[in-house]
Symmetry: C2
């Protein structure tokens, strides 16, 4: 089977697994208090690609045949991602009215409800990790690393420098800090958890983490490019927001062509990092290509 | 020594212990990214009474002589409390400009920074629990219970119904739901963690939890009363906000006198719940009285 077709099939299967876990774990829409449950289901099931949980399961399946034991951890990472999007979209931060082709959470449910719904996703992610069918000490380690990866030296640090840098000319170091933390830290964590739980050696883990850093940065560069040249219909959100908000982006720092080249180079480097896995890395390679060519 | 003096001395000692842990654990103000670190230190060291971590250490010290092993868990619970205050004060929710006699976090640092600083306190609380010098399985259990206590069936559920109920006439059931979840769930958790880690039997734990439910509710009733009759200088915040925002409160549902009587009854019941501990409960009794008579 063509590796692109294989990737599509594998992503679909693993997406379904993560959707089942999220659906089982999240309270029903009609549970009390209704508004917050409706809001968090609205955002969690808004058509996300489930890229992050897929990475966790993909890394796990390099070493194990069945992704189920790691799926709750993967689902927890998707909840973290969704929480960060809801808070990012709030008027307090980016003020985005649309996300994935639908009104953003606060635009539908109001800012207070959206804020609290995201908070509840964040805490629930920690609860879900404690429930994974993996070693107790591994669960505790993942709680700790997840907190660190989401925190001021990870995701939140990236969001913070992002808003601080609006309207300012930023140097390459700051731009890298934003991208590596805001996008890269969670993507790295996803791969890391899968690899560790799967039983990777230190050397294997280092290769997978290197792959993660490269695709994470490439993913963000493509994101920046799509905000300039993307199709709003395919993207499901308005474009041109970065320029309007004077965001620090790769195209604004290096130009469109240079940025595209950097993304392509990173994708090649990511694939190269996985060469030690031989044929087993086929889905990692196909995924790297998918990230480079994505239009949404 | 008079029990009131004893309580004051004990609170001061344990406050200092928790302050040391918070100071060591939180990044320095000048660490990158500076704004978020300044903001979270501003709120964490804004002069809170450290009531919640005190409860954890108090319950622990019913069974153990040295509070240090549980102090990181206690400090984590204070971080959860501070996170919830920062989000509550945001214009998205209660829009409070003052807290503890100082400008609230967003009034000083802006809404985006305040939002993210609180998010980082929330995730850091989970990290801190993983570092306590208690059994690994106990740490994992506390992570799980903390997530549940903070979540949609605890703290966040209470905040949610609170904002949903603004401007509506609410029944007693809804009022109790708000108070039990918004204030009670975290207070119960604090006592519960201390008691469990200390080695309480099921029966002892039940007594301590009963004490927690009573003082938690009394604490919130007093809070409602202070918003009507309190001294803004002592409180460090403006009063009359509940009425202005048409909040569901005890005085609005039962009147001032009846609410005061209910608080006094709850305090008596709380003290009664601890009778099995004999002389060891002296600080619990003094604390219950302190909650009833507090003016800030």
């Amino acid at each position: 089977m063509d590796s692109k077709v294989l990737l599509k099939k594998d992503m679909k299967e693993k997406q379904e697994l993560v959707n089942i876990i999220l659906d089982r774990f999240l309270p029903r829409k009609d549970e009390y208090p209704k508004e917050v449950h409706k809001a968090l289901r609205y955002s969690v099931f808004a058509g996300g690609k489930r890229l992050r949980p897929y990475l966790t399961m993909l890394a796990y399946c390099l070493f194990q045949s069945n992704p189920e034991p790691i799926a709750p951890v993967a689902a927890a990472l998707e909840m973290i991602h969704t929480y960060s999007l809801i808070h990012d979209d709030l008027p307090d931060i980016d003020n985005d009215e649309y996300r994935r082709g639908k009104k953003s959470c606060h635009a539908v449910f109001g800012e207070g409800v959206a804020l609290l719904a995201a908070d509840s996703l964040l805490v629930s992610a920690f609860e879900l990790v404690t429930q994974a069918e993996i070693d107790e000490s591994l669960r505790l380690r993942f709680v700790k690393e997840m907190a660190q990866g989401c925190g001021i030296n990870g995701l939140i640090g990236g969001q913070m420098v992002d808003i601080e840098s609006e309207g300012k000319k930023v140097d390459k170091k700051t731009l890298m800090y934003i991208h590596e933390n805001k996008t890269g830290s969670l993507i790295s964590l996803c791969l890391r958890f899968g690899a560790i739980a799967g039983g990777a050696t230190e050397k294997e883990l280092a290769a997978i983490e290197s792959y993660g850093r490269k695709i994470g940065l490439a993913f963000q560069i493509i994101d920046d490019l799509l905000d300039i040249e993307g199709d709003p219909v395919a993207l499901g959100k308005s474009i041109g927001k970065d320029e309007e908000q004077e965001k620090a982006t790769f195209p604004s720092a290096f130009g469109v062509e240079e940025s595209r080249q950097q993304a392509a180079d990173l994708i090649q480097e990511a694939k190269h990092a996985m060469r030690g896995f031989g044929d087993k890395a086929v889905l990692f390679e196909a995924l790297a290509d998918f990230i480079l060519s994505r239009n949404s």
